[in-house]
Amino acid sequence: MKVLSRNARLLAGVLLLFLGGCASTPQTNMMLAAPHPSLPRHVELTEVPYFVQDSYQCGPASLAMALNAASIKVTPDALKPEVYLPDRHGSLQVEMLGATRRHGAIAYQLAPELNDVLTEVASGTPVVVLQNLALSWYPIWHYAVVIGYDLDSADMILRSGPERRQILPMRTFENTWARSNYWAMVTLQPGIIPKTADATSYVSAVTALEKVSSPAAMQSSYSAALKRWPDNLAAQIGVGNTAYRMYHLPQAEAAYRRATQDHPDSAAAFNNLAQTLADQGRYKEALIAAHQAVDIGGSLSQAAQETLTEIESKMRQ
């Protein structure tokens, strides 16, 4: 009997090795061994709403939960024509980001770190994750929402498919999540920055709203970015460009001017400053800035040259 059970265990082990490769969970190991001191041991965002999903609708359902948690009222049914691909019976990752933007929220993709997921949850933001619930060679792709964790019991807490409160061992979670290359996103009101965000990624996430959102909403996000990363060039230009788009020329001018001071090598800052000054009829100042933009040149030299030519022709009129 003992021999049999040992053989069975050996067989199971070999089978497992064959099936899952050497499945290891380095992120969970590290998290349990030495969690970041600022992380609470236990978090659960009980107020995150739950939507029962229809078949294949985990994308719209998960996104609806995340958006509603960010105070954006939307139902899975309303999201379905925005993310779901009927013939694929599923939703693509980039469309989860895109649909978020269409509702005026910032879609921020987290770094592929378990620590970042837990940090966001601990700061009150539910995290949408993509899991492959099955195996790499037999994928079952699934979106779920991480709403909590428990470091003592090594569990994750999710809103997942038919389960309002799924308790998933952290290692199992990592196994399923690793197969999507640790894909995770948060949805946020404009002006709110994820705790784990880095400057470039966050500013890109705001810029991505350009085609679908109002300049006012974007400006609050660029301004928030500037509070956190005061000398970020893209955020400075972003504040200027959104002001320019709303015809707040003095405000745009101030933002560009600050960018030229912090980044004297930025042709974009000088070019946009020149254009804004010219629009206010201040051609002499505009000319100086335009010349500086042309002198810096680089990849924007053509745009800078065009601005300069335009200002010169206006001065001749």
């Binding site: 980039v94 196994n175 890109s204 893209a234 460009n241």
Partner: protein, 135 residues
């Protein structure tokens, strides 16, 4: 003959498609002289015009693919406009291969057994009734 299939109607619908595609093209800003924020964040705009054309082609390609996946033209256009150039490029030509989260629970029997075992060992989580024996 059904008037909807007449050569004239077909010509009209083609014209409408062309018009709608043109309408979906990236619109130039009111003032052409402002450098866009995304050009500041990514310093690789040496060939801006080519990038714009590539982005347009990527987007048209994705719209066509989305229509094949059962999305209407209007929906596809609205959806593609919410994506960045980079995102449109990632999915262009690959719409049918990329992960699409939707949890299909229609598993053949052999795979069922395998997944049951992997579920129990905490490698997978396909079935709601399984509990991992490992922590």
């Amino acid at each position: 003959m059904n008037p909807q299939n007449s050569p004239f109607m077909r010509w009209v619908s083609r014209m409408v498609i062309v018009c709608m595609m043109v309408m979906g093209m990236p619109v130039q800003n009111a003032s052409a002289s402002i450098v866009e924020t995304d050009q500041v964040n990514f310093h690789e705009m040496a060939m801006q015009d080519r990038a714009k054309i590539n982005s347009f082609l990527d987007r048209q390609d994705v719209i066509a693919q989305m229509q094949k996946e059962g999305i209407t033209l209007a929906q596809a256009q609205a959806r593609i406009s919410a994506l960045t150039d980079e995102e449109a490029h990632t999915i262009s030509g690959k719409l049918d291969q990329l992960p699409a989260g939707g949890d299909v629970i229609g598993v053949v029997f052999a795979v069922f057994i395998i997944l049951l075992i992997t579920d129990i060992f905490g490698l997978t989580k396909v079935f709601p009734f399984t509990r991992s024996i490992r922590k």
